[in-house]
């Protein structure tokens, strides 16, 4: 079957098997920033934004994407670059596997919660696992990213 949808602002019409999950559909179309970690919605590395909301693409039936808008990290370049800079400065960027999904979720978080407390952040990010770090550097980097973005939006 065919699905018509928007990917990072661009209209797409892709052929899919009705049984397909969107993680595979994306990777089959060479969007490799979206990763497979657990296949059971537990790890977060397959996260994409579906109409602006973070969802696990490993469990998103591709057929249901019809008419919707998908954002991957390629679609939030400016934000991702600022976050990456601060992640690097905090030494919280090791293997990089969780980074694209983290960028998307942090982007969604700053649009949803104006001034997230540590608790808010933990709650929002609990489903995005990182196997390399202890999350401390990441939290610092995220705060620095939010400060910089909020400053530039003034």
């Amino acid at each position: 079957m065919k699905i018509n949808f928007k990917l990072n602002g661009r209209n797409e019409a892709w052929n899919i098997n009705s049984n397909e999950y969107f993680l595979d559909t994306l990777r089959n179309h060479n969007i490799l920033s979206v990763k497979r970690g657990c296949d059971t919605t537990s790890c977060g590395v397959c996260t994409v934004l579906l109409n602006g909301k973070p969802v696990p693409s490993c469990s998103l039936l591709s057929a249901t994407v019809e008419g919707k808008e998908i954002t991957t990290v390629e679609g939030i370049k400016a934000d991702a670059e600022v976050l990456a800079k601060h992640m690097g400065s905090q030494g919280s960027d090791q293997c990089g596997y969780c980074n694209p999904s983290l960028a998307l979720v942090v982007y969604a978080m700053r649009r949803e919660i104006k001034n997230p407390s540590s608790e808010d952040m933990k709650e929002f990010l609990v489903g995005n696992l990182c196997r390399c770090t202890g999350y401390i550097g990441q939290e610092k980097a995220i705060r620095m990213y939010m400060e910089e973005i909020n400053e530039s939006n003034k």
Binding site: M1, S18, N19, Y21, T40, T41, S42, G44, T47, L50, K53, P54, V55, P56, S59, L60, L61, A63, T64, E66, V105, E123, F124, L125, V126, G127, N128, L129
Partner: protein
Amino acid sequence: MNFKHYEKPASLDEAYALLVQESNSALLGGGAWLKFRNNKFDILIDLSSLELDKIKEDKEKIIIGANCTLRQVETNELVIKKCPMLVQALKTIMGMTIRNLATIGGSIAGKFSFSDILAPLLVMETNLVFYKEGVVSLQEFLSNKKFPKDILISIEIKKENYVSYYKTVKKTALDFAVLNIAILKGEDLRIAVGARPGIATRAFESEKKESINDITNSILDEISLSSNTRASVEYRKELLKVYIQRGLKEVFSNEN
């Protein structure tokens, strides 16, 4: 999960006709749990065109559309104000991303024994509204092993004044619960225990007792627990004993 045909009906009538026409059909909520099942359905019916994703209220109740995502429910102002225990329970379910996909209808219709929301919903006055069967209490739906194929349209929760306590025990944040407990004290006392690992159940006998001690002893008798890969029955018994007491202390002191 595999299926032959994907259908997205434009009306409830159409959806129901598809559901009953094929004996091997399934309704699609978020689809997250369906993914893990080995079924090969003939028809998968996507309900997302049916606008079952609104949350509203009338004088007596909150009405939650069955296709609302869990995240939609937990962030809704009405639900936060009137059903805080449900919000508390929802926030313990895995991570935010899966809650943007899973629907409350799917979470209830699945009758999952691991559910984190059935215990709180059981102690609140919760009715389910089905397309064909009409209004059915959650209690009745869960106990009826022969409930006919139907489409869940909405969940109605009665507005009441009460204090509540909810506790879920998980070995890691993203794991299934080892046990969960919901206590509600309004005009009466209501207690439900879930993930026992059996499905959530009310403790009707124990609710009639008076003192914390009596209620606790009765609960340990009335609620059947067992072992599974997550925990032994002995561990669950300890957890139940401690958290029932803590919960009762909290609601009895908070109601004054």
